[in-house]
Symmetry: C2
Subunit: 358 residues, 2 copies
């Protein structure tokens, strides 16, 4: 039996509900694949703020650092929205990414044939979309220094941030993206704003240089304003997209919404070594929290990414992905992806159906 | 007779074709409204590079500064794509914006009933979209200092830019946006990334403060990643959007593409005083340049914005807008917006039909 320790961070809103379901799926799949998980639940986000006064307690970070992988539910809620920056749930998430050094954020956006009608895009535009955004996650304007508030020469208050990338940071995220593109359809599109920003010029230069290590991958470049349009116009043109932290924040969310089913989408955040961080892309949805209405499939699929990218357990991951597809094929839908003719279920029941399909 | 001087900057690719058509429309409308225009054509972009070695010659900038308004076609093309930064057509455009101090970029995105099928969005999502993005145009990361290349503590090469906003810059763009929202449906959505960036925190604080001057306008705030999703999910929720330079670059293009007809969309860039800059949002389309295939309607509608926002000639502006609608109603379409049952025309013929409708 293989043994892995998983730190679970249920977080806020619907987080605890979806994590509890995903945990059961991991357990069952583990037992079928000869894998034993030990789970440790730790507070994070608003839940941690209420309990300990900070959004990422030291014990939570060190538990996560010691684990083989980390599965996060969701964080945030109205209650903490007005908190000062250091006491926001989001700050805890940024600290967690930094603390785990997970510089590569993988955001697949796939339109499943079963759910093509959920997209606001016309059917012929949406069907067959299957792309992944590789977002740099621990650099750029999110973490760049100097940052803060001050006064300019005219005595006016200013707020400022620094967008900065080093060759090392660009090279390593580029390699992750090329590796992923190589295993997919062999097309990598690097998105930047190299017609204006020096940080983007270096980005483009380094991504182009790294391309020589991957002659089997076709590299193209696109400006971010054009990319945002092309995702709406003809999303099928994209296979793998690589971009910086802030553009990745924007483009990965746009790509997600194009699928029309953000309740279905997982994500993985990986470092050089050490545990990866896996989480659904949806938020904490405080309006439906505690009502057993959440769609647990994004978290279940995040558990699949955890198995595949975090632990190298591809068979177990495939089992989960197939179980999710089978559950959809059997017609089970939570409210967010419901359409007439299907069977409307809650979070727990959806989880039970996935267990049956495993 | 009122007299206005207009600097025309035809630029590159299809720029000269669409400018020539729009000039004729301005002339005719002027003669009907008792307005006399004097036009001065100046080189800009790639055309200026070929002629003078720089993308924005001094004579062009000073002619533009002395004019009552500036109408630009489009700039850029493959030929100059590999130029170093100072010798790129785009750099000329940034210098022009800076030189004219046009800090407020107005980007309407409207889905006309005649063209709703051009959108890749489902009909019920696209129809009725009528929003405007107010983008800050002379600040933020586009112009912030320090910027450039260097080395970090580890000896790695870096590229860096500064996102910076002052209270003065935020207040004035906020006022422009509130004024516009007030004349529209009274809803202003300010887009930022205040959960991460200090520059955005100041942005949100100042926009909120300015709101007290406009009790009749309803202000909301949205994070940029969410805004990019909401534009795809339910674009009709937006009336007026105000945002910084880089987010505005991204969101205004996304909003444009959602209409499905970027060949129809005009823009205006306005300063505190002095001439405004008006241009279609589409590029120079080098692949169809010189073939009389370009859609001149975006430039004609930019001329209408010039009359309305640049010269205060609302009647003349309305005449143009109505003529464009009438031409569409009579079934004339350039290739980019053509659908069966309509009459396919070239750039010049479309211009002549608009003249008939004036
Ligand atoms: C919550 C926020 C800080 C975060 C980000 O901007 O990275 C979120 O939008 C995301 O994409 O995970
Ligand atoms: C050409 C480029 C510098 C420019 C910008 O980014 O502002 C363009 O994309 C625009 O939006 O007008």
């Amino acid at each position: 039996t293989k043994r892995y320790s998983i730190t679970l961070l249920p977080g806020d809103g619907i987080g605890p509900e979806v994590i509890s379901v995903a945990k059961n799926v991991l357990k069952l799949v583990g037992s079928l694949e000869g894998i034993e998980f030990s789970f440790q639940e730790m507070p994070m986000g608003g839940a941690a703020l209420d309990l300990t006064g900070v959004p990422l307690p030291e014990e939570t970070l060190s538990a996560a650092q010691r684990a083989d992988a980390v599965l996060l539910g969701a964080i945030g809620g109205y209650k903490w929205d007005k908190n000062e920056k250091l006491l926001k749930p989001e700050t805890g998430l940024l600290q967690l990414r930094e603390g785990l050094k997970v510089f590569a954020n993988l955001r697949p956006a796939t339109v499943l044939p079963q759910l093509v009608d959920s997209s606001t895009l016309k059917k012929d535009v949406a069907e067959g979309v299957d792309l992944i955004v590789v977002r740099e996650l621990t650099g750029g304007i999110y973490f760049g220094k100097p940052r803060g508030f001050g006064t300019n020469e005219k005595g006016e208050d200013i707020g400022f941030n620094t967008e900065v990338y080093s060759t090392h940071e660009i090279d390593r995220i580029a390699r992750v993206a090329f590796e992923i593109a190589r295993k997919r359809r062999g097309q990598l599109c690097s998105v930047d704003k190299a017609n204006v920003l020096e940080a983007s010029m270096l980005w483009r230069k380094r991504v182009t240089a790294i391309a020589s290590e991957y002659p089997d991958v076709e590299l193209s470049h696109m400006y971010v304003d054009n990319a945002t349009m092309q995702l709406v116009r003809y999303p099928k043109q994209f296979d793998t997209i690589v971009t910086n932290n802030i553009f990745g924040d924007i483009l990965s969310d746009e790509a997600s919404m194009i699928t029309g089913s953000i309740g279905m989408l997982p994500s993985a955040s990986l470092g050089e070594s050490g545990p990866g961080l896996f989480e659904p892309i949806h938020g904490s949805a405080p309006d439906i929290a505690g009502q057993d209405k959440a769609n647990p499939l994004a978290t279940i699929l995040s558990a699949a990414m955890l198995l595949k990218y975090g632990l190298g357990e591809a068979n177990a991951a495939n089992r989960i992905e197939n179980a999710v597809l089978d559950t959809l094929n059997r017609g089970f839908r939570t409210g967010d992806i419901y359409s007439t003719g299907n069977k409307l279920v809650g979070c727990k029941e959806m989880g039970e159906e996935v267990l049956k399909s495993v």
